[in-house]
Structures are given as C-alpha cells and as structure tokens.
Symmetry: C2
C-alpha cells in the first residue's frame, strides 16, 4: 500500500480552493461532486515536485467542528479487502465496511489514534 | 512554497511507529526528541514512490482529544517571514510568531478552516 494523499475537510469549498490555488500556489487538479455516502464535493491539488495530493472534502450535511479538520489519509492498495482484514488483525479498527463503487473498491479503517485511513483500489 | 509533509499527532509514539512501519509498511526515517515549544518527540515515514513525509508528533504535555489528530500541513519556503506576511494579507491568520531555531526558521499560520500550516526554511 502506498500513501498517496492527505484529505482535509473544509467549510467552504470555493474559499478553500482559492486559498490553496491562489495563495499557497499549488497546482489545482479539479473538482467533482460526490453522491451517496459522503455526498458533497471534492477538489484536489498537488505540487509539481511531488505526486502527493492534498484533497479538500466538502460535505453537504457537514457538521464542521473542532476535530473535523483531518478527514483521512489515503493509501492505494492492490487488494482492499485483504489489506483491511490484515490491518484489523494488526490492531486497526473498522470505520466503514468495504464498498464497491463504479470505479473503485474503497474501505476505511481507523489507526491507533482514531485517524481514518482510506484504502482504495481501481477496479479492473 | 512546497507541500512536503503531513503531520499527525499521536497518543503513543512507540505504538504508532510500530503501526506505520510494520503494519502499513512505510519506510521509517527515524525519530528525534524536541525541546522548547512543542516539546516531545517526532518520528517520520515515507513511501519509496514519493518524497512526501508522514510525520508523527508526540507531545510531552499533550491533552489529546478529538480534534488533535491533524497536527499541521508543512510547506518548505525560501523566505518564511515574507510568506507568513503574504498569507496573512491573503486571509490566513497567525498561529504562532516566527521562530529562529538552530537549523530552521519556522512560522505557523492557520488556513481558512483553522488548520495549522507550518512554513519553514533551512538556515544558511
């Protein structure tokens, strides 16, 4: 598994996009709406020197408060179900059952600090 | 400025190092004690495919609670004071005054969500 992006939750997507694009100066990769679980909208940024992505997550039904800032750390995997099982045996806890989405298989576990780790794999 | 690492706060450094090294399988770059402001200990990890670092921050006087998980996002800069000033004019807020440490000049501002952004530059 590979650590590929850091997802933060934001209160106002337009304002946060402007901040990370125009003020911080990161490369803006675009935005797209999300439906179903976690409905809202997502935007992504990167720097030219690194493949690591900063993802901004905005949720339709968000109750943003202190503690919402870190949304999740994301890891690309070859087999999400196997990795979820392995991590749980090793002390991680389940955060959300594995879901098969149109393009990705996605699972969430919590690390020893309660931090959500997203495991994802592209579907063949 | 370049987005170079993601810093999370951890409750138990040994346990978190074991998790990210042995379970997640990231490359362990080492750990070192920190004195003064933010006293505690820091460990760092990366993946072989990316220069992006995951930093684990453990604080001696931590009052870890929901909301502590994301410690900061870090950006390497050429001139910390100039960038802090620029960001504050652009709507960021001051989190901690610029400090000159033995090896680095370091400043912290908050993004529009209240997320701490560390700006740092190596001293000549």
């Amino acid at each position: 598994m590979k650590f590929t992006y850091t997802g933060i939750e934001v209160k106002d997507l337009d304002r946060s996009i402007a901040f990370y694009r125009d003020v911080i100066g990161m490369e803006y990769l675009g935005r797209h709406k999300v439906e179903g679980t976690g409905a809202g909208e997502v935007a992504a940024f990167k720097d030219k020197d690194s493949p690591h992505v900063l993802e901004l997550n905005w949720y339709t039904n968000s109750k943003y408060r202190e503690g919402s800032e870190l949304d999740h750390l994301a890891f690309e995997c070859q087999d999400v179900r196997r990795e979820v099982e392995r991590l749980i045996k090793a002390g991680a806890t389940m955060a959300r059952p594995v879901e098969v989405r149109p393009k990705y298989v996605v699972g969430f576990v919590k690390d020893p600090n309660g931090i959500w780790l997203e495991l994802y794999q592209e579907r063949a």
